[in-house]
Symmetry: C2
């Protein structure tokens, strides 16, 4: 058995709330710059109104999924419009992501298992 890493999981309220599902394939461009930006965006998101939590992982093939959770569509729109986040989005489109998909969804039910 591995050691539990609770910090990888978002601790969320009872639904409903919103999810932003972001799947992406990284280019090989700027690994250090990308890591720095990604870390900065996590901190910045945590300070946005309506932010509930996030879960994120990326495999060795460069394909990753990040799901961030928000109280409302308004909170998501506000985060999307954040000036520093917009710079990261534009750099991502231009340099860091070969391909990405972004889906906004209303979480209706949630289940879990902790041991």
């Amino acid at each position: 058995m591995t050691t539990t890493t609770p910090s990888a999981f978002a601790s969320l309220p009872t639904p409903p709330y919103y999810a932003v599902i972001f799947s992406s394939l990284r280019t090989s461009a700027g690994p250090d710059e990308y890591a720095h930006m990604a870390e900065r965006m996590v901190v910045l998101a945590q300070h946005q109104p309506g932010y509930l939590g996030a879960e994120s992982t990326r495999g060795a093939d460069g394909f990753g999924i990040t799901v961030s959770y928000w109280t409302s569509l308004e909170a998501i729109a506000h985060w999307r419009a954040n000036a520093e986040h917009r710079v990261a989005q534009e750099t991502g489109k231009a340099q860091w992501y070969e391909h990405y998909e972004l889906r906004v969804a209303l979480v209706e039910k949630a289940y879990g298992k902790k041991i």
Copy 2:
């Protein structure tokens, strides 16, 4: 630039449709059995009514996210009740997952970037 891997991304219709967001932390138990089961569940899911696609990744730390997409809550309930899938679910709870979270969400909007 890395080579595009379109197969990692689900090709989905215009929303609305449903997402099942499954995040999990693997134990160290049964890597071969787990890989075999995971591969089998992908094939089995693809043959279920209402299945639209899935995206999945897991990092070196054992934390993974799989998002599967479905036409309706009924399709999700049907898949959850599938006999072979239920065996996999029970083995997962007992052996393979240290911790997991499962969230069911209605996708309202989708955006993407392909180059």
